[in-house]
């Protein structure tokens, strides 16, 4: 996956590389349609602004999408591709 969901030419990175408190915009999820539509239904959809709440380095990962707090397994967080924002933009 190399295309960019925003109009800025920024390469997407895996969500799990972002530190606590980082803001980002979701580009895509690399996975089957089942997984992707499930995440979308939970609010993790293309273009949504997210914030890393907890990235402990190992173990599960917590992101905020709007008012929802969603736990992702580490493997899951690696499949979520995002474009990081400057802080405060999300």
């Amino acid at each position: 996956m190399t295309y960019d969901g925003t109009d800025r030419p920024v390469a997407p990175v895996a969500l799990d590389t972002l530190p606590d408190g980082a803001h980002a915009r979701l580009v895509t999820v690399s996975g089957g349609p089942g997984l992707r539509s499930r995440l979308a239904a939970m609010g993790l959809r293309t273009g949504v602004a997210i914030r890393v709440v907890h990235n402990g380095g190992r173990g599960p990962f917590v992101v905020a999408a709007g008012e929802a707090r969603i736990v992702l397994g580490r493997g899951m967080a690696r499949k979520v591709l995002v474009v990081p924002n400057g802080s405060g933009e999300a």
Binding site: R36, A40, R45, R58, V62, G66, E67, L72, G75, K79
Partner: protein, 735 residues
Amino acid sequence: MVQPSDAAKPGTFEAGAPRAPAQTLRRVTVALAGNPNSGKTTIFNALTGSRQHVGNYPGVTVEKKAGVRVHRGLWLDIVDLPGTYSLTAYSTDELVAREFVIDAHPDVVVDVLDASNLERSLYLGVQFMELDVPLVLVLNMSDIAAARGFVFDLEHLSALLGNVPLVPAVGNRGEGIEAILDATVAVAEAARPERHVAISYGPEIDREIEHLASLLEPDAQRLAPRRPRWVALKLLEGDRRIRERVRAACTRADDVLVSADAAIARLRTILGDDPEIVIADRRYGFISGACQETVRSTVELRHTRSDQIDAVLTHPVLGLPIFLGLVYLMFWATFRLGEYPMAAIDALFLWLGQAVGGLWPAGSDSLLRSLLVDGLIHGVGGVLVFLPNILILFLAISVLEDSGYMARAAFIVDRWMHKIGLHGKSFIPMILGFGCTVPAILATRVLESRRDRLTTMFILPLMSCSARFPIYVMFTGALFPERWRTPVVWTMYVVGAVAAIAMAKVLRSTLFRGETEPFVMELPPYRTPTVRGTLIHMWQRGWMYVRKAGTVILAVSVVMWALTAFPRPAESDAGVPDAARAAASVGGAGPPAAGRRAAALEHSVAGRVGKALEPVTRPLGFDWRINTALMGAFAAKEVFVAQMGIVLSLGEGVGAESDSLHAALQRNYSPLQALAVMVFCLLGFPCMATVAVMWRESGSWGWVVLQWVILTVMAYVATLAVYQVGSALGLGGAM
């Protein structure tokens, strides 16, 4: 799948419910839907009060909660659907909800939206609109949303959504409940409105939908649902279940499905992605458009209160000790606080037994007296004595769930759960398993992967459920010194959990080998549980236990009583004097009646079966009396205690705590034997209710039999090891 018709019926018992719908009341089925954590359950409780019932466990397991409300001359049967994010076929919960809405034709669907999470909530709401069901939207927790700076233009939003009634509410304060009922009644009484909010999915997808819908149109009357457009949309999403429905209903099903496959392939080329994903994106696009015009966010709070609490409760270092502390507190309260009311209930049944027994002359051999006192009163009483403990345990579990902490527990242990090939979500059913295996197995529905789900269901009977507790209390109380009792009971719980973990590990590397499923779960915001809601949830589970005592356990007690009472030996039976002497010597200086009863028992069906099993169970340290009690324990493990009372030839005062039972146990068994029985009951032979629910949820007898055999064999081996090693170490004697 769940039979919707069962769930929609008012059950046999509703505390405080009106008896039956008066002839004049029109009956209306209302399905309550919404995201998990949208406050749907609070709304349900506020709508129905205590007039709820949950499906019966043993036999048919219907997990659907239903309740009743009479409003403005309508009798509303309100069904609480499982919380879902969408209406796809990917999870059992979503399927249950969807099939209820499609097949049971509820008169109104009430969809609860979380006001703070409106766009995502509407993702489900919009799907109900597309399904064209009569709909009421509830904007719940509007107070919290307002506090977070959201301002809603409800009238405008409702107009953009095709004039769906949109009712603001605050479920936990009971605000807006009347308005919800009014809107529901209005929708139920209105002629079906022509709404047709057809979301545009872009020209390419819209064209394919039109085309497929036109192919489906001739069979529309036989389709369920009769909505060709919706079915077409689902076909483009690649929905397996809908394909099956089309195949069953359409005369030219093959044409339709081939066209659908071609359309999906075309769209994938044009759109550069799966149509399913593009459809999801565009659905969100429609919602965002509607919200942009009608929802304003004045402030953005970066750190909500929930995040602050999470900073402590899910802290990388503090999280686990806090969790373990809470679990300890839960069990401490269950065991310690339960003791006081337990003594009272025990005394009550003792008194009842004596009062009923006293109607006959002392030493009477009356069969009826025996049935009433030994069979019914002691059978049921021996189980109800533990109601206080069980209510406390269920109260604690309800608080953990309702406050939002349970999801954090899953998060905290996820790292460790991965080591056994499961993830944090499997942990919630395991905690529920301490209460009862049946709801725990139902709770595995949140697991999307079948492998994860089966693994979790397999190990759940190893979590020591509340029905094992009476067995521990009886044996430790009788055979272990005071200071050892609590540690021994704790050890049983730990052994069960460790066995569950070990078994999961083994299953995941053999039978259910494969990748660990991706882990996704929502952390609901923390909420202060309402007293009313918590009590309702505690009582629903507690009531299950009481009802079990009143039905299954009552019936089994009678059957077991009959098996132990018949056939009765003739007085001249040659075997009697021997057995009587033997029993009398075992029982010490017991009254002669006790010896006669023991002899009769050996002569009975249960006694004979118990005897026949002795060669198998002797290496475990079990005698025939324990064997007969184990037979009863298959029906429900609580029966074990009552049955031990019966087979130890005790006429009166048989409760797990009673002195006479303790004395008899002390005369007949060693602490090592007690330990062996406890281990066997902990690990082996899942009870009848577990077997039934396992069958329903796994969909195959094969898994049920496999689970039963594996667990029982494991229990046998473990018990054998405990007893034989213990004996070899010389621990067989009294302590």
